[in-house]
């Protein structure tokens, strides 16, 4: 297994950091892509950050109440070696399992 870390993203408007209000996930949790990871508070607003990938959480970058600077590690996932660093996702082996909705007939001149 490999690890993949994600930094606190640039939240816009020149904001340099954010306070962790509440983690919605913990170490060992299996997270789906776009699940809410954490609620953070900036000097402008509180907002929820979605997960950029599916994976198992291996490390949280800060405790609730702590401040994380933009670009510092926010969360680390454990991902399979073969998919570490890829753009997109590894397709499931059974992707597009055929569901038969068409009836075919062999040609009459067979």
């Amino acid at each position: 297994m490999a690890e993949q870390s994600f930094p606190l993203p640039d939240l816009g408007e020149g904001l340099e950091d954010a306070v962790i209000l509440e983690w919605h996930v913990g170490v060992g949790d299996l997270v789906e892509r776009n699940d809410v990871l954490v609620e953070v508070e900036t000097t402008k607003s509180a907002l929820e950050l979605p997960s950029p990938l599916s994976g198992v959480v291996s490390r949280l970058g800060a405790e609730e109440g702590e401040t994380v600077r933009v670009g510092d590690a926010l969360i680390t996932f454990e991902v399979p070696e073969e998919s570490a660093g890829i753009v997109g996702r590894v397709p499931a082996v059974d992707a597009d399992v055929p569901v038969k909705r068409v009836t075919l007939r062999p040609p009459e001149d067979d």
Binding site: E81, S83, G88, P91, D96, V102, R105, P106
Partner: protein, 341 residues
């Protein structure tokens, strides 16, 4: 995927290993780097990182940073470097990280790579193999899921090839690197993790198309990731008593017309399946070659099952764009139920 292996010149005897497509490509690169000191591998993140798809994993550690090296994020420069190295006697194997990133290199490929042999009256061959992770299937962002084969196949002076399984990935890449002509090597990225038997010592022949499933009622012609889908559709059709032949074109330039005509001449019905957009896609070329030679034999017009004429969508929307097994079956139904007049 079934495969009938025939001994080919240069084969050293059967040695079968189960490898994923990415492992097979990695092995092919390692074996060519090992066999020929003129072979160089370079591109974005191919060295220290080992490639975003792990295809060049471990090669820099084994062969050194003089032969396996990272480049700036500049595809035109990657191909320009390859041209210079080829003129200087090397055998460059550059990578552009994704299909859509080949577009910035289009000028170098079309204006220089494809023409040097012609321009120099044969004195300067271009033994360049450009590896391009290609097509969709991994729900990646924009410009990471493009089917570019028709662009390259339209350019005289380039060879274009696309393997569908691990065995062909290994042998077609080795054959490409050894070719004195430039080869655009399109890797089906959705198949990178698919494992299969690779007979390292016995290619079974790396030229031309390959009949991967024999059948007698109709022929599906395909390449890249769509070969596997076509085989799935053939299995479903078999439940209805329809016996489908599946041909993997493999080489998209030059196209192996003889194998296509031999197959469709027997089955008299043909469906071409590709991910690329329909208009001016390679399916049109294949269909034309069939009708030019088999007009009187065909029992139905050649059907195309393709992507739509839209920009390749990103994310989950690509599931609608890429031909599904269901859409392939509908294409088969159109040729089987066609009636004259």
């Amino acid at each position: 995927m079934t495969t009938t292996l025939r001994p080919a010149p240069g084969d050293t005897g059967s040695t079968v290993e189960i490898l994923s497509v990415q492992q097979a490509l990695n092995r092919a690169l390692a074996d060519e780097l090992d066999a020929d000191p003129r072979v160089l591998v370079f591109g974005e993140d191919v060295g220290v990182l080992g490639g975003v798809f792990r295809v060049t994993d471990g090669l820099q550690a084994r062969f050194g940073s003089d032969r396996v090296f990272d480049t700036p994020l500049a595809e035109s420069a990657i191909l320009g470097t390859a041209v210079g190295l080829a003129i200087a006697g090397f055998r460059p194997v550059p990578e552009v990280q994704f299909d859509g990133f080949a577009y910035p290199a289009f000028d170098q490929i079309v204006s220089q790579v494809a023409r040097y042999r012609y321009r120099s009256r044969g004195r300067l061959p271009m033994p360049i193999t450009l590896r391009v992770p290609s097509y969709g299937g991994i729900r990646a962002p924009e410009l990471h899921g493009e089917s570019t084969e028709a662009f390259w196949a339209h350019v005289a002076g380039l060879k274009v090839v696309s393997p569908a399984d691990a065995h062909d990935a290994y042998h077609l890449l080795r054959a490409s690197i050894r070719s004195p002509d430039p080869v655009i090597f399109l890797e089906p990225k959705s198949r990178y993790w698919q494992k299969g038997p690779v007979d390292l010592g016995n290619s079974g022949g790396a030229d031309g198309a390959r009949i991967v499933r024999p059948g007698r009622h109709l022929t599906i012609l395909s390449w890249g990731a769509m070969v596997d889908r076509s085989l799935k559709a053939a299995e479903v059709a078999a439940e209805d008593g329809v016996d489908t032949e599946v041909v993997d074109l493999r080489w998209l330039s030059p196209i192996d017309t003889a194998t296509i005509v031999e197959s469709v001449g027997r089955t008299r019905r043909a469906v071409v399946v590709h991910e690329a957009a329909r208009t001016a896609g390679l399916g049109a070329e294949v269909a034309t070659r069939i009708s030019e030679r088999l007009f009187d034999t065909l029992r139905a017009p050649v059907q195309r099952v393709t992507g739509y004429d839209v920009p390749t969508p990103s994310g989950a929307l690509e599931d609608e764009q890429i031909p599904s097994v269901h859409r392939i079956l509908l294409g088969m139904q159109r040729v089987l139920e066609y009636r004259r007049g």
